[in-house]
């Protein structure tokens, strides 16, 4: 549905306008159609993530204390760094789209490269975060073993006793937090990876001067997709890393 599709469609274009596909009458109609299609696609993506957000809401509502405690096992700094990285890549993506608008090949190459670079940066940070979870037995599954944080233990309400809770509950609810964490950031991560692939292909095509890149839509649509990925993270960050008590 994104750059690639558009490129392949191009091969079939004929008639006066080289980029115009046969089912459309004008370039304007075609562009409009692509934009509407992309936005519709983003709306389905919203609902796709929405299911998990809904589950998150329900369980955070049910287990507020444990979610609060469990979130301390996530590093605000790493998450913040990743937010910064994604915001930056969004910014550079916007510039890449702008360069395409101004038909600047060099601009596109630079800004797309920056975007991909930051996207990789995001994955690297995520990799460190995930592996830290493995080390601390915070990956849901048989080896899951949750230690309440000292802040929970030191909380005036819970002073010195939390460690005595053998509570299977504590484990379960904390595990629920991490299940949601891995599902949601994992799904987001998959989107990042798809984004990297698409943007890299786009970069390559611009680099090679592929005729399809004359056409503005592929990069515009990739841009929309990438901003969407950014927006999802904008919400994931406070929901997982910044739970206030």
């Amino acid at each position: 549905m994104s750059a690639e599709a558009a490129v392949q469609e191009h091969a079939h274009g004929h008639g006066h306008e080289p980029d115009l596909m046969h089912q459309f009458d004008t370039m304007e109609q075609q562009n409009d159609a692509y934009m509407t299609g992309m936005w519709t696609f983003l709306v389905t993506e919203i609902m796709f993530f929405g299911g998990l957000f809904c589950a998150y809401l329900v369980y955070r509502y049910s287990y507020p204390t444990i979610f609060f405690d469990a979130h301390k096992h996530l590093s605000i700094r790493m998450g913040g760094l990743n937010t910064f990285i994604l915001l930056t890549s969004s910014f550079s993506m916007a510039l890449a789209v702008r360069a395409a608008q101004l038909k600047s090949r060099k601009g596109q190459l630079i800004w797309l490269a920056v975007t991909v670079l930051f996207a990789f940066g995001f994955l690297v940070v995520k990799y460190f975060e995930y592996s830290a979870k493995f080390e601390h037995h915070l990956v849901p599954g048989p080896y899951f073993n949750y230690e309440p944080t000292t802040s929970l233990v030191n909380n005036p309400h819970f002073n010195g006793i939390v460690s005595q809770i053998p509570g299977a509950q504590l484990q379960q609810w904390a595990q629920m937090f991490f299940v949601l964490y891995f599902c949601m950031t994992g799904l987001h991560g998959i989107h990042v990876i798809i984004g990297i692939i698409v943007i890299s292909i786009l970069w390559w095509m611009v680099y090679k001067g592929h005729p399809a890149t004359r056409y503005f839509m592929p990069i515009e649509m990739t841009g929309l997709y990438w901003h969407f990925v950014d927006i999802v993270w904008i919400f994931l960050y406070p929901l997982f890393y910044l739970i206030p008590h």
Partner: protein, 110 residues
Amino acid sequence: MSEEHGTHATHEHPATSVFTFFKVYIALLLLLLATIWVQYQNFGGLANPIAMAIAVIKMGLVMAIFMGVRFGSKLMKLWAFVGFFFLLILFGTLIDYSSREWMYFHGWSQ
């Protein structure tokens, strides 16, 4: 053709200046700092709404400027709205969980 054609297609709108993008980018970073700062303050029950409000503002900025919604057709704006509206309906599920306990005070059982 269709009435949406009257409005601007995205590629026709004037290219947003680098400076505007940069301003938005800086604003986003400031908001990021703000949301972290809020986390360390003691806002009690307000902390959550504030964090979410900041996220919504960030989203709004990204959508309006980076994604070009402000130049987009009405249809595009409608779509952006519809997506979130139906998301809210889905979140209505939470009402089930939050209102189950009301029943007890009416002498009902669930």
